[in-house]
Symmetry: C3
Amino acid sequence: MSPALTYRDTVAVLDLGAVENRFSPEFLAAVNAHLDTVLADGATGLITTASGKFYSNGLDLEWLGAHGERAPWYVEQVQGLLARVLTLPVPSVAALPGHAFGAGAMLALAHDQRVMRADRGYFCFPEVDIRVPFTPALAALVQAKLSAEAITAAVLTGRRFGGAEAHEYGLVDATAAAGTEVEIATALLAPLGAKDQGTLGSIKSVFYAGAYTALTA
Amino acid sequence: MSPALTYRDTVAVLDLGAVENRFSPEFLAAVNAHLDTVLADGATGLITTASGKFYSNGLDLEWLGAHGERAPWYVEQVQGLLARVLTLPVPSVAALPGHAFGAGAMLALAHDQRVMRADRGYFCFPEVDIRVPFTPALAALVQAKLSAEAITAAVLTGRRFGGAEAHEYGLVDATAAAGTEVEIATALLAPLGAKDQGTLGSIKSVFYAGAYTALTA
Amino acid sequence: MSPALTYRDTVAVLDLGAVENRFSPEFLAAVNAHLDTVLADGATGLITTASGKFYSNGLDLEWLGAHGERAPWYVEQVQGLLARVLTLPVPSVAALPGHAFGAGAMLALAHDQRVMRADRGYFCFPEVDIRVPFTPALAALVQAKLSAEAITAAVLTGRRFGGAEAHEYGLVDATAAAGTEVEIATALLAPLGAKDQGTLGSIKSVFYAGAYTALTA
């Protein structure tokens, strides 16, 4: 299943898929095309979610293993999407129905806010245990969103956080009962009203300038 | 009414005024002159407050509308005052008896600590809703004082925070019952004792070097 | 008493000493030699602690007073140790049985986590009261680990924090009943398992690049 875009009134809901929703080149292209639509439509908010037990497991290591020579291009594509979501000129919420691992967790962090199902799934940076280093750009993204305490607890340990613990450390902003992630995300967006894309995009670009520049270098 | 300086024992109390206390050129000059006095007097602390329902509504948009050609000079004056308060070589507390909006909220943030009346007024960054961008310097000031979570909650949304909510997000450090803002601020300063101006100014300058440099560039 | 290294299973426990454990040149050399051993041994974690009522009182002002001409060399040695602990390629916990002042508090901050005895000792940055400025490098270390609120509360005030208050402000991650500091620290390390030194060292180096570079400049 490919990422699919629907609307709840004027809020765009992007379902990343029903499987692991790893960042294959096709996945990245489909998400970018949907973001083009969201901006062109003048959506008042974006919710990304998923329909299975994974929000996203991050990098498509299988594809990467088969296309090692394209690794630099691939990293550029992934970091480009993270930079785009980080500075997206509409309010954004990631609604996690389950696991968010590695680059999948970073995609969630790139949103303005995160809601996580309380009873299923882990928020996890497994890099330290699977021997994958962080690029300075990915570290800058994480540091733009998390406290030093959360970084120590999550990034340096590889620990898996369930919803309640993820909330306690500020990895997510709210938890949700099973099946209500998108509802809770919608409730977070409702009071914000419609924002001017130019102004909100400019403000995010200024506040996240360091991470954006690193991600798009 | 112009800003007026009085003392509570050795603590200077600067009343910004009884109206909206916007940053007109005269207001900025008066505040700077009072800060000169505070430093020359060897005050052991500074409390800024106000006598009406506004701490400050920030930029003087009326003056700015009438003097568009002086906008660069005006921004330099405003940012200069914020930089000065940020690195003021005496302990400082903003005691908010009511609204702090936009640059008024930033002036409060530039102090070491903030106390806000619990039952009246809002702490708010309205920029995203009134289509005003942040300069990198103002963003640096906000980032020097607030968590990423607070920035998302306040700056990206334009949301109005009452005292209790402002406290919950760390926008202010304490709340106060009506009319007790200055008392609470005084109680925060009392245990600090007298600090050496040279040392405290140096420490603030080192810790806030990024924001200070941006504000005074 | 010199710093002494023992093991609890595969976790290295470095006892800094039974007195004030100030950073004399001999102390710094002994700690560095023990860290060499810890890394060579493939320890799965490092706990630093002390056997008296001080974790460490920081700089050896007496030695420094007698060797003023070597102050630049001495600062380089101290900052070098802090940089090394900050990016140590094994999980690290400082277990404080008592006072951590000034550079002693900074050594504790350089660890991944901190446990402090609840009923004895203070965590304190006395610099503002004893008229000692911060170098930009030491400020960068503190800022890499503490929130803006904690910096204001601790660094700008010189306030002494007992264990519970230190925990409340995030200066330490946990408190411990008397004599259980190392046990609690061990319990924090146990779930982490063994980390690959290359990966963990790389991740810490990327996340703390700013402070590391400043400390080793």
